[in-house]
C-alpha cells in the first residue's frame, strides 16, 4: 500500500508538476530567521525528471480548494520536505493548517487540523518520522488576507510548514 502510493506520487511528480507553477510564498512567520543549516539555495524551477531534493525548500505553503484535500501540484514540494526531514532527523517541523473566515470558528479549527494532518501524513510517507512533524490548526484566526472575497479566501485556505526556529 505504502509502496504503491509512493510510486503514484512519483508519477505525479514526473508528470504533474511541469505545467503548474508552484507557490513560492514564504511561511506565515516570514520575519523569522531561516532554520540553522537549512539549504537556502536560489530557487530552482521544478522540471520533469528532476530529483525531488532539488526542489526549493523555501516553498512552504500548500493551498486548497474549499474543503478539499492536497492538490497534486504541491506533491513535489511535500516530497522535497519529506526527504529533507528524512535526511535530517534532528529537524522538526510545525505544520499549521488555516481556513478562510466562513463558518464556525471551532469547526474551522478542525478543518485546519484536517489539512495539516494531510500534510503530515504525506511527509511521513516521504520518510519523515512522527516525532519530527506536528500538525496543528490556526483555523480562521490568523488570516494572511482579510477581504471578504474568494481571491482572499483562497490565500487563507493553506497549510504552512515551519521548521523549528521559525515559530
Amino acid at each position: 500500500m505504502k509502496k504503491a502510493l509512493f510510486s503514484a506520487l512519483t508519477v505525479a511528480l514526473l508528470y504533474g508538476c511541469a505545467s503548474t507553477p508552484v507557490e513560492t510564498e514564504k511561511p506565515a512567520a516570514s520575519g523569522a530567521e531561516p532554520a540553522q543549516g537549512l539549504p537556502v539555495s536560489p530557487p530552482l524551477a521544478a522540471r520533469p525528471g528532476q530529483p525531488a531534493a532539488q526542489i526549493d525548500l523555501s516553498k512552504r505553503s500548500v493551498f486548497y480548494d474549499y474543503d478539499k484535500y492536497i492538490k497534486d501540484e504541491y506533491r513535489p514540494v511535500l516530497q522535497a520536505h519529506g526527504k529533507y526531514l528524512a535526511e535530517n532527523r534532528g529537524k522538526k517541523m510545525l505544520i499549521q493548517g488555516n481556513c478562510d473566515e466562513r463558518g464556525s470558528r471551532e469547526y474551522n479549527i478542525a478543518l485546519g487540523q484536517r489539512r495539516a494532518e494531510g500534510v503530515r501524513r504525506m511527509l511521513v510517507l516521504m520518510g519523515a518520522t512522527e516525532k519530527q512533524v506536528e500538525p496543528v490548526s490556526l483555523g480562521e484566526e490568523k488570516p494572511r488576507c482579510s477581504d471578504h472575497s474568494e481571491g482572499c479566501w483562497s490565500q487563507n485556505r493553506r497549510s504552512d510548514m515551519l521548521y523549528s526556529g521559525e515559530y
Binding site: R105, E106, G112, Q113, E117, S137, K142
Partner: protein
C-alpha cells in the same frame, strides 16, 4: 418618539456618557410586543452616588425589550414613600408601574439605597428592598434592582446583574474581557499578541475556559477570574486543543483534542486530569455543549459528509443526528430550560442564527446577517447573544429567543467576537 429616534438618542447618550476607551455601546433595533410602561423616578439623594442609579435601572429595563420607560420629567421632590405618590398623575402618563426610592449615607460611612416598586393602577406596593453598599457597588446594585423589578413584573428571572465575556481584537492585540451584561464595567482577563478564542464560563462564574494561541497552536486553559496571569494549560497535547464546554455541575470539561488523529471529543477534569475519549469516528467531531441536565452532549460532526448537529449521551455512545435541513449546521447551544436548540446554519451562503424547538422540531430563523456566529443564551433563556459584523467590523448582537427584539453592542475601531454569557450570580 419612534424606536429609531430613541435608539439613535440612546446610542448618542451612551457614547457621551461612557468612558472614552473601548466600552461596548448598545443600539436597540426593533421593539418587543406588550412592553410594560414603567416610570423610574429619580431617587432622593442619588446624586451622592458615583453614577445615576435610576438611569442604569431604566436603561436595563428598556434594553430588555420587555419595558417601556415613561417620561419622568417635571417631578419637583421625588417621593420616597407610597403616601407621597401622586398616582393619578402617573396614571395620566400611562404608567402601569413605577419605582421610587432614596439613597443616603449611613453613620458608618457606607451607603444605603432603598426602593419600592409600585402598581400604579392598584395604587399599591408590589415590593421593595434596602441595599447597603459601597460607592463602587452602585452599578451592581442598580442591576440587582432592575432584576427584582423584571422578575416581579414578568415572572422570569432578570439577567441584568450577570456578566458576559467576549474577545476583542484591536490591531495585533487580543483581549479576553468580562463586562456587565449591559457592556459596561469591562475588565481584561487576558491580553495577548496571539489569538484567544472560545471563552466558556464555569457554571459557578468564578473561572473561564478558553483557547490561547500564544504557543503558535491552540492550547486550552482554565483561568480564575481573580487571577492576574495565565495559569498552566489544562490540555496541551500534540496537535490542537480547543472547544471547551463545562458540564452543568462544573466537575467536567468537554474539549476537542487531535492527539489521536482527527478532531475528537474528550472529557476531563477542569484541571486536565482523568482524560477519556468520548467520540470515536474518522470524521471531525467538535463544538461539544452539555444539556442543562448534564445527561447529553450536543456536538458538530461531518461524519455524514457535511457538518451537522448530533446529540449523544454525556458518557459517550451512539449519536443521534438532530439537523437535516441544509449542508452546514454548526455551533449547537441548548437553552437553560433545555427546550430550544440554537445553532448557526448556512442558508444561501449566509450564516444565520436558528432556533429549533426540541419537542416539535420546528425551526425558526432568528437573524438575517451574513456572518452570524457563536450564539450564547442568557441564563434566563430569554436572549441569545451572538457575533456578527457591520461594515467589516465585528460586533456583538442580541436577539430575544422569540426573534422579536434585537440589539447590537459594538466598540469603536475594534473587532468584538465570541460572546459567552455568564451564569446567574449567587445561586
Amino acid at each position: 418618539m419612534s424606536p429609531r429616534t430613541f435608539a439613535a438618542l440612546l446610542a448618542a447618550i451612551l457614547l457621551l456618557a461612557g468612558p472614552a476607551r473601548a466600552q461596548l455601546t448598545i443600539e436597540i433595533i426593533g421593539g418587543g410586543a406588550n412592553q410594560i410602561p414603567i416610570a423610574v423616578l429619580p431617587f432622593a439623594g442619588e446624586s451622592m452616588l458615583p453614577q445615576s442609579i435610576t438611569e442604569i435601572i431604566e436603561q436595563d429595563l428598556s434594553r430588555s425589550g420587555r419595558f417601556r420607560a415613561i417620561f419622568v420629567g417635571g417631578v419637583n421632590t421625588p417621593p420616597t414613600e407610597i403616601a407621597q405618590v401622586d398616582f393619578p398623575e402617573w396614571k395620566s402618563r400611562l404608567a402601569d408601574a413605577m419605582v421610587i426610592g432614596q439613597a443616603q449615607r449611613l453613620p458608618d460611612g457606607k451607603l444605603e439605597v432603598r426602593f419600592r416598586l409600585l402598581d400604579v393602577i392598584k395604587q399599591s406596593q408590589i415590593g421593595g428592598i434596602a441595599f447597603t453598599l459601597t460607592a463602587a457597588q452602585t452599578r451592581l446594585t442598580a442591576h440587582k434592582i432592575a432584576d427584582f423589578i423584571y422578575e416581579k413584573m414578568t415572572g422570569e428571572r432578570g439577567v441584568f446583574s450577570t456578566r458576559i465575556a467576549y474577545i476583542v481584537k484591536q490591531g495585533p492585540r487580543y483581549e479576553l474581557r468580562v463586562a456587565d451584561a449591559d457592556g459596561q464595567n469591562a475588565q481584561s482577563i487576558l491580553i495577548s499578541s496571539e489569538p484567544i478564542m472560545s471563552p466558556a464560563w464555569a457554571p459557578d462564574g468564578t473561572r473561564m475556559a478558553y483557547v490561547s494561541f500564544q504557543n503558535k497552536k491552540p492550547i486550552l486553559f482554565v483561568q480564575s477570574l481573580s487571577a492576574s496571569k495565565q495559569p498552566a494549560p489544562v490540555a496541551n497535547y500534540r496537535g490542537s486543543n480547543s472547544a471547551p464546554a463545562w458540564s452543568p455541575d462544573g466537575k467536567q470539561l468537554a474539549a476537542v483534542l487531535t492527539k489521536d488523529g482527527t478532531s475528537q471529543i474528550y472529557l476531563m477534569s477542569p484541571d486536565g486530569g482523568n482524560l477519556r475519549r468520548l467520540t470515536v469516528s474518522q470524521a471531525i467531531d467538535t463544538e461539544p455543549f452539555f444539556t442543562p441536565d448534564g445527561q447529553s452532549i450536543y456536538f458538530t460532526s461531518d461524519r455524514g459528509g457535511s457538518p451537522q448537529i448530533y446529540r449523544m449521551p454525556a458518557s459517550g455512545g451512539e449519536p443521534v443526528r438532530m439537523t437535516f435541513e441544509g449542508d452546514y449546521n454548526v455551533s449547537p447551544r441548548v437553552s437553560p430550560d433545555g427546550k430550544i436548540l440554537a445553532y448557526i446554519s448556512r442558508v444561501n451562503g449566509r450564516f444565520q442564527l436558528m432556533a429549533m424547538d426540541l419537542e416539535s422540531k420546528q425551526i425558526q430563523t432568528l437573524t438575517d446577517g451574513l456572518r452570524d456566529e457563536s450564539p450564547s443564551f442568557a441564563p434566563n433563556g430569554r436572549i441569545i447573544l451572538y457575533a456578527t459584523d457591520i461594515d467589516d467590523r465585528g460586533v456583538l448582537a442580541a436577539v430575544s429567543s422569540d426573534g422579536r427584539f434585537r440589539q447590537r453592542l459594538g466598540i469603536q475601531a475594534a473587532d468584538v467576537r465570541e460572546p459567552s454569557w455568564g451564569p446567574f450570580l449567587g445561586n
